[in-house]
Symmetry: C2
Subunit: 644 residues, 2 copies
């Protein structure tokens, strides 16, 4: 679309457009709004700037005539001869802060608005946010406030612009886009911020066929996944090197009924091994499948006869190995017979409050309020290990695998109906249906934490090769997820620690000033809050510490501190009501009795105490002790702060 056509279209909406006039090659327009910018309007030239077809700072009719000649010559030099179809547009130049608003039809998220700093800074600083085309005012504001430029709406340098001006602009773009589905790209840059509002100074619109909005595996009357009374293990095995053995062993504590199936028959852990699914009497709620991929489709067909509601396919060898066909069949069956599928190619599923562990991961996990969904079995496995060490408990674990049916959106919906789940953490590599994903987060009653890979082009390639999923644009994913209320994590361990560390008023107690300074940098860098000591609190510490203690947080109790000095310090610190996290930073000095110091962490109290043990061999005894007590600890300053 030519620029003046774009402006004609915009006129029907709540946009403010700079004064302009469109005129023919040989016409002299009447202009009462110098200085102006003069631009060629021609279908022959798309990238006007690159062709020298834009002239700025024109102050008079004489300069306008020169500019027209210059543009004509510039495009001629590129081989383009203008004719009577071609026009010029002269628009008033405005001074002010340059903003940007655009709209794209994204492969993952569909139509999405991008807003932020415009002008050349758009590409230099990429200070933009992403906003769903269906976002409401609250989401729009939340997104805008993720940009640095949004400071101008909050008193920066005395500016008194209202954020409502930006909201109105975005609302108008939403309306324009929804009314004109054939607009597939839109670019207003710059939009000038003036006292009279946001004024569009340059606009491009591209029309075409919009992507179909995906519906994903949306289905009415889906069974609630967490209705599991009668569970079958297909491929339970007495061969201790097989997955079917590990899962069977982990499943034994289940409070409902278990049925083991193996064509060889026999017995395992006191349970009959049924040779055929049909040998089991009555219906089956849930089946976990751990047999070679070639037999999976037929097995599912048999399960359909048992009115199956949920299937977990641990077996690998599907999409990730090039077999898309079997996955398509499984997807159709699940639609047709209304059963849920997790997987294939996954590590399994765990629901701790029913003691239903259908994973082949380690046992002995604690129950807790966190549901963890992971698109990678190996990552889930590493996180389970870490959680085990740190004594963090789960309500649900889902290894999502290839997500032939249930995807994150449906899992979030279901988890919202589970009382035992208080937080949801998700490891994401790629999603298919962005709109549906946003909808689920938006409606979630539980706080959602997300770590997503694919920041770099290279890792997008890596993810593609290994799950066959789209990884999408990381910045857009992050921006949209945050605008609908999720918390995006920069470090994967934060998926475990962050739900339990929401408010962070942090205090550091240490015997070494140097590492404490580094730790302070890391804490601040991660957005942590360092608690400020009151005079009264300082006096209390004065009474038990040597005179050269740091007098500040970090509380440096000096290198010769033994356990008793740590104990006295922690006694006082425990009375600091607003502190909720204490780092006990210990370095090996000549006589430091680390073991006795870390024993102090066992004291019950409202504050979490996380020991950080710098140094190698000298620390091993203390580490063993902490591991035995399931007290989380850290060995580097960086890992200690990575979840903040």
């Amino acid at each position: 679309m030519r620029e003046s056509q774009v402006y004609d279209l915009l006129r029907g909406y709540d946009f403010k457009i700079t004064p302009y006039v469109s005129f023919k090659m040989d016409e002299v327009p009447k202009i009462d709004f110098f200085p102006i910018v003069v631009k060629l309007e021609s279908d022959k030239v798309v990238h006007k700037s690159d062709f020298g077809a834009v002239k700025l700072n024109i102050n008079s009719y004489d300069e306008l005539a020169v500019a027209k000649k210059g543009i004509t010559a510039n495009v001629l030099a590129k081989g383009i001869v203008l004719d009577s179809d071609d026009r010029f547009i002269a628009a008033q130049m405005l001074s002010g802060i340059e903003l940007y608003v655009g709209m794209v039809d994204d492969a993952v998220f569909g139509k999405t608005i991008v807003f932020g700093k415009g002008g050349i800074e758009l590409e230099l600083y990429k200070d933009v946010c992403s906003i769903d085309i269906y976002a409401d005012e609250e989401e729009i504001k939340r997104a805008i406030n993720l940009t640095t430029i949004s400071k101008i709406f909050h008193g920066f340098r005395g500016f008194e612009y209202s954020i409502e001006m930006a909201v109105d602009l975005i609302r108008a773009v939403q309306k324009l886009s929804l009314n004109n589905p054939n607009i597939i790209e839109l670019d207003f840059n710059p939009v000038i911020l003036t006292k009279d509002g946001l004024i569009i100074v340059d606009a491009r619109i591209k029309k075409g066929e919009a992507r179909a909005e995906k519906l994903g595996s949306l289905r009415k009357n889906r069974h609630h996944f967490f209705t599991n009374e009668r569970v079958a293990l297909i491929g339970a095995s007495s061969d201790s090197m097989k997955v079917g053995y590990a899962v069977a062993r982990n499943s034994l504590d289940f409070e409902g009924e278990l049925f083991f199936v193996n064509a060889k028959g026999g017995e395992l852990f006191g349970h009959t091994l049924y040779k055929n699914i049909t040998d089991i009497e009555g219906d089956i709620d849930t089946a976990v499948i751990m047999i070679p991929s070639g037999f999976v489709v037929d097995t599912i067909k048999e399960l359909v006869q048992k009115n199956i509601k949920n299937v977990i396919i641990i077996s690998a060898g599907f999409k990730e190995s090039g077999d898309f066909e079997s996955e398509n069949i499984i997807a159709s069956l699940s639609q047709q017979y209304n059963f849920n599928v997790i997987g294939p190619n996954c590590l399994g599923y765990l629901e701790s409050f029913k003691k239903l562990n259908l994973t082949f991961g380690i046992g002995g996990l604690q129950s807790g309020g966190l549901a963890l969904l992971s698109q990678s079995g190996a990552v889930l496995s590493a996180l389970m290990d870490k959680a085990y060490d740190a004594g963090i408990g789960f309500s649900h674990l889902v290894s999502c695998g290839n997500m032939v049916d249930l995807d994150f959106a449906q899992m979030i919906d279901m988890l919202n109906r589970e009382e035992s789940c208080r937080y949801i953490s998700i490891y994401v590599e790629g999603i298919i249906n962005g709109k549906e994903f946003l909808r689920a987060i938006r409606e979630s009653q539980k706080k959602i934490y997300i770590f997503k890979t694919g920041k770099s082009v290279q890792s997008q390639k890596a993810a593609f090769s290994h799950t066959g999923n789209l990884s999408g644009n990381y910045a857009m994913f992050k921006g949209l997820a945050e605008s609908v209320g999720a918390k995006m994590e920069e470090n994967i361990e934060a998926l475990l620690f962050n739900p339990f560390n929401e408010s962070k008023n942090i205090l550091v107690v240490t015997n070494a000033g140097g590492p404490a300074t580094i730790l302070t940098d890391y804490i601040v860098d991660q957005g942590g809050m360092l608690y400020t000591l009151s005079d009264e609190e300082r006096e209390k510490l004065d009474s038990v510490l040597p005179s050269n203690w740091s007098k500040n947080n970090p509380i440096d109790i000096i290198g010769d501190a033994m356990a008793d000095r740590y104990a006295k310090t922690l006694d006082i610190v425990s009375t600091f009501k607003e502190v909720d996290l204490v780092y006990l930073l210990i370095t090996p000095q000549c006589m430091t009795d680390t073991l006795n110091i870390v024993k102090l962490c066992e004291r019950a109290g409202a504050q979490k105490i996380y020991p950080i043990l710098l140094g190698g061999h000298e620390m091993e005894e203390a580490q063993r002790y902490l591991r035995g007590k399931k007290i989380p600890f850290f060995k580097t300053l960086q890992s200690a702060t990575s979840f903040l």
Copy 2:
């Protein structure tokens, strides 16, 4: 200075200034350069914008009259009545990219130029670099290219601006500042980038008394520190709980002469314990002092009688405990009698090629090409531990302590004369004499790596409380250090690993796609380069790997990989000439034989192989093996990439 006075001053230098006219309250100036900006010129109003004393976009004499009235009313509303002394200035408004140049007289670095993106973006995006007032053209360019806005000098969006324009501007500011020592602050914002050059549109200059340029502990004819033939240990002790014992034990391998001194007399490790320093026959080159702080000054006076050249004061209890006086006396003595001092309040000193270990840290360190200077004993100690685990060797270790005499600059100078030292890594909390520090780096023949604390205000406070040193502005420190050729590290372990990993063409071999995607993100984030497989290399791998391997770097050899598949892969990878670093990313899968896999790391080859072992208990055996072989390994993806 009033703006028109500033312009008068600038006229003597190579600056371009926007057309302007300065006129009295009741005067109507002749203006042939509309549009203009009108500003009040009055000593009564410093912050013009805040007082509504600036009016933009004035296009005619009529608008000018309105603007003058408006400004008068605005300042009156703030209680300021203008009189005949006050003037207005009208300057032509120019459109273009807004840049910034400023100069400050910094407490640490003295006069320093700041250059970058101007306009409101200056404060929003802080896209600026720092340039020493004495920087040459190469340094200036290096600094400019650290900014994002410098892209406009390198073809960004077809801009054809030359970086020389910016260099000329900075040169002119250098000249102006050097010729006018009483200029202590300068602020040109914006400077508009036009085809005709960089044009100053708004300028402020503040005059006052400049800080004296510090000379630090500069001294001619300083002894070379590394001349150590006869070394005395003052406070050598047979009490194994004392520092004097640990240092004496560590010193025993020294190839020169050792003298142990202890008032109690006796014998230690076969050496006589001299009761007095004077009992030692002949001169002493170097003494390490490990006695209570109250006796240190007198001891030094005795050492002066022995023509002492170098003193290492391990003893604490000086500045850090409030005793500034003793430090001043020691500093004077060192000037007067021309001896070097390291410390006080430090961990000691190590020179590996002479087997001179005067630290109370762990023994058994390897020799190597890296000299490490640290302003914190605890940090040095943690790094020594890490280096021990990773088999990284040192040429010199210096625990700098309170730096009463030798500071980083002198140490760098001296290390440059030491053949055994190839790289210098420095842990910095704060420095006093910035200019001297920059001079030393600028002249250094050895590559310098720096980690500095004090990014956050909070950590600056922490550092202050513990070393009493200025921490300074982190961004300025980083910018200046980089402009003179140092490499600033974001992670402290990089001080150990980075010197040995200069060129990084990285390959990942793994049995788990998920973690590999995260690792890829981290690598790219840290500036690492992922190697791209050629078709030929891909075919080679095809011949030994299962068909569903990733076909890309990261090379995912699939979860069921045993050691033999890793071996075949590494055999092929070892022929990839351009790869210099291989991450072997291992996750515990059902049957992974981690121990046999990590044994593959022992193969000699041009490529470094770093194993990353995700997962807990299952990995312990392999970890023990690697530790025994002194092969560095990592347990998290983040730590594995932190040094890139």
